[in-house]
């Protein structure tokens, strides 16, 4: 069913990317998915009967056990009152939708929701823009420099979360932080003992830098991998038609790599939205809860204040909100598929 996706490529310079071009007149180098799928087509008919299901079973069972079961327990918990007492006596009390009612009418909850989305949106935008630029840079660098940059990116990616949070905390330390030193050196006043964690916004901004730094390598390396599948003759043809670099990116590269952008943005949205360790380890959601995002909020209410039922309701709402927000994205991906 993905046979025709080359069509997008050929129509690129002139048309808007999309529906036309069912039949490609010149055969450009196949894009990634094709390469993978074409050889498998011949073999697809081989495994019949039980074998595919058998092969799927281990993954399905472990998913059900490790994700399905806790998820169901979590939903059940969200309809119960479980505070320290109920946890210890193991006698949860059924309270229907009380936890949800309490949350949906609380201004704190909505503040956290809005904050989470603003935080997620900004961070993902930063990650995608910088990651894409770095990917392009990787593609145009010479061999040696590309290796150096790739290694640097991989190192950033491989740094354990809590370790990198600790380093960031030191960078922005009130007394000895390099950030304050840097601002002073640049000639700004008021950075003798500036507390970067004094407000929630400032704290989240630092978390944002941290997550962006940690997430760029994934986007950049993927982007680079995607770019290698774009044939050199396409650039040449576009240049011959007098296209500028930005135009080439907009009309050649972007349409070809659109599936890449869709899925990467999709993943980043989920990853940033659920980022817990970075936010919590930076300042425990403080000061005064001002840097709490939804996962941190759920943790503080649950583990911190021992209202496990309410925390479960928060996490269920988080899933629902995320699904609702992502549904347009699902649609977009599905539409993209249908068009091809």
């Amino acid at each position: 069913m993905t046979v025709h996706s080359q069509g997008v490529v050929t129509s690129a310079p002139e048309d808007a990317p999309g529906r036309a071009a069912g039949d490609a007149h010149n055969p450009p180098p196949p894009t990634g998915p094709n390469e993978v799928l074409t050889p498998s087509r011949g073999r697809r008919r081989l495994p019949t009967g039980l074998l595919p299901y058998l092969l799927l079973t281990p993954a399905a069972v472990s998913l059900l056990l490790l994700l399905g079961y806790p998820l169901i327990r979590n939903v059940i918990l969200s309809f119960q009152k479980v505070n320290a007492k109920e946890l210890i006596t193991r006698k949860p009390e059924w309270i229907g939708f009380d936890n949800y009612g309490e949350l949906l009418t609380s201004s704190t909850f909505w503040t956290v929701v809005v904050r989470s989305f603003v935080f997620m949106g900004t961070t993902v935008l930063l990650i995608m823009v910088i990651g894409t630029l770095l990917g392009i840079l990787l593609n145009s660098l010479g061999k040696a420099m590309r290796l150096v940059l790739s290694i640097a990116l991989l190192m950033a990616w491989a740094t354990p979360i809590v370790a990198s949070v600790t380093v960031f905390r030191w960078l922005f330390d009130e007394q000895f932080g390099v950030a304050n030193w840097f601002m002073r050196t640049l000639g700004f006043s008021g950075y003798d003992q500036h507390n970067w964690f004094e407000t929630g916004t400032s704290t989240l901004a630092i978390v944002m830098v941290l997550i962006t730094w940690g997430s760029i390598p994934f986007v950049a390396l993927n982007m680079y991998a995607g770019l290698t599948t774009v044939g050199a003759e396409l650039y040449e043809a576009a240049r011959m038609d007098g296209a500028s670099n930005t135009r080439i990116f907009r009309s050649v590269v972007f349409p070809i790599l659109k599936p890449f952008f869709l899925i990467t943005t999709f993943l980043e949205v989920i990853w940033v939205f659920k980022a817990f360790a970075q936010v919590y380890a930076m300042n425990q959601g403080g000061p005064d809860g001002e840097s709490q995002t939804l996962p941190v909020f759920a943790y503080v209410i649950g583990s911190g204040q021992q209202q496990y039922g309410v925390a479960a309701a928060i996490s269920v709402l988080t899933i629902l909100i995320l699904v609702a927000a992502m549904s347009f994205y699902f649609r977009l991906i599905l539409k993209e598929e249908d068009e091809q």
Partner: protein, 428 residues
């Protein structure tokens, strides 16, 4: 095919994210290593001197053959979550040390064994009445009081002497002295006082006649949006302005006694006996010599020292303990008069034992002496099971302090804090 894959990837990624937020806990079997029964005891950081608890356990194990006592030291940071989880498990620690402000809260969760019937064995009649109050709820006994302690000002004798400052007896003298140190010594900070040292603030609040929360009918309400709290905070702010300590941290992060004071240039700080001991040990380990003096937190007038939070710990037995009878025996031994006298001696009077007769007479000029002087002004946090909820992080009292220190109006910050306190303290 591809579409389904994309959806599957998305859903899986989302679920992993959210399901990963759960907690986990391990349940060790509290029995049988070499066939021995294991009695697990949780004590807090700084509570049980090594030599003393080894002695207690040796005596206990000699009396009860086939029983091993295992002592685990816990940190105060995040202890409530830990204890709650432990009490909900099938094999909880048998004996748990609980802070006196939190014992009533745990008693209300039904996670602690009722010790009312064991009063005689435990030596109830000899216990300090003020300390017993925190271990009881609705007329039943849930823990044995262990020790009590309060904070005093610890000062570097040399810095004070160089600046010509003596130990003060009133708040005014105190501030004047600190300012004098600031003028004459540009290296040292006159006092190390982090912005969220809320037990210190509670003392100042009591001095003003206010309280953290008061009972109003069958409900409780927070007391931070009051004039008393505003003037207490005002004085705290003045003290804090003489410190280089962060405004948004408490005394445990970084640990003032071991991370800050041993580095030097701290003229004075407010701490407990075990903190003073820890600082002295850290300084000596680094090859230096500590020369500390101690004085009670000064009051408004010289005739009475400032109010202090009378902190302390109780020893409770988990309701689900598999060795309740052994645990009671251990409790009777460890918290009994004989061992408490040794305890008091071991800590040089730095902690008050549960039995007045076991009290060790402190040396002149020691921490214990200053502590005993200010004990007359000792007070406790509101006595209600709901108070334990208030103390969980983020602690509204701490947030209130940070806000006021950063310049917010005390009334406004107080109202926000009271709202949180009211919600938590009345939570059933």
């Amino acid at each position: 095919m591809k579409r389904k894959l994309v959806i599957a990837v998305g859903v899986a990624a989302m679920m992993t994210g959210i399901a990963a937020c759960g907690g986990d806990s391990d349940a060790e079997g509290a029995k049988d290593k070499d066939g021995n029964k294991v009695l697990k005891v949780w004590v807090m950081d700084g509570s049980a001197p090594d030599a003393w608890i080894k002695e207690v356990n040796k005596e206990f194990e000699a009396k009860h053959e086939g029983v091993k006592v295992e002592v685990e030291e816990q940190k105060w940071n995040g202890i409530q979550e830990k204890v709650t989880t432990a009490l909900s498990e099938d094999t909880p620690p048998d004996v748990i040390e609980l802070g006196n402000t939190q014992t009533a809260g745990y008693a209300a969760t039904e996670g602690l064994a009722d010790l009312t019937g064991d009063k005689d064995k435990l030596g109830y009649d000899g216990w300090n009445k003020g300390m017993v109050a925190s271990a009881e709820l609705d007329g039943k006994l849930y823990a044995a009081p262990w020790y009590a302690a309060n904070r005093v000002v610890i000062y570097d004798k040399k810095i004070f002497k160089d600046a010509g400052v003596e130990a003060p007896t009133t708040r005014e003298e105190w501030l004047d002295g600190l300012k004098k140190i600031k003028k004459s010594n540009d290296k040292a900070q006159p006092i190390y006082l982090p912005g969220q040292s809320w037990y210190v603030f509670a003392g100042l609040l009591w001095d003003e006649g206010g309280d953290l929360a008061t009972q109003d009918g069958d409900k409780w309400k927070g007391g931070l949006a009051t004039d008393e709290a505003a003037s207490a905070m005002n004085f705290y702010k003045e003290l804090q302005s003489l410190s280089k300590a962060p405004k948004d941290k408490d005394e445990a992060t970084p640990q003032q006694s071991t991370d800050i004071v041993p580095k030097g240039n701290v003229a004075s700080w407010i701490g407990l006996g075990w903190e003073a001991g820890g600082a002295v040990a850290a300084i000596e380990k680094a090859g230096g010599k500590a020369d500390f003096g101690y004085f009670p937190i000064p009051g408004k007038t010289a005739d009475k020292p400032g109010s202090v939070f009378l902190g302390g710990s109780n020893l409770a037995i988990a309701e689900r303990s598999k060795h309740k009878d052994l645990a009671k025996e251990w409790l009777a031994l460890a918290a009994g008069k004989k061992q408490m006298a040794k305890y008091s001696e071991e800590v040089a009077g730095g902690l008050l034992p549960n039995n007045d007769d076991a009290q060790f007479t402190p040396e002149a000029g020691s921490f214990a002496e200053a502590m005993a002087k200010s004990a007359v002004s000792g007070k406790v946090t509101p006595v209600t099971p709901g108070w334990a909820n208030v103390e969980t992080e983020p602690n509204p009292v701490k947030e209130y302090m940070s806000k006021v220190l950063k310049g917010e109006d005390p009334k406004k910050a107080g109202e926000a804090a009271d709202k949180v306190i009211n919600e938590r303290i009345n939570r059933k």
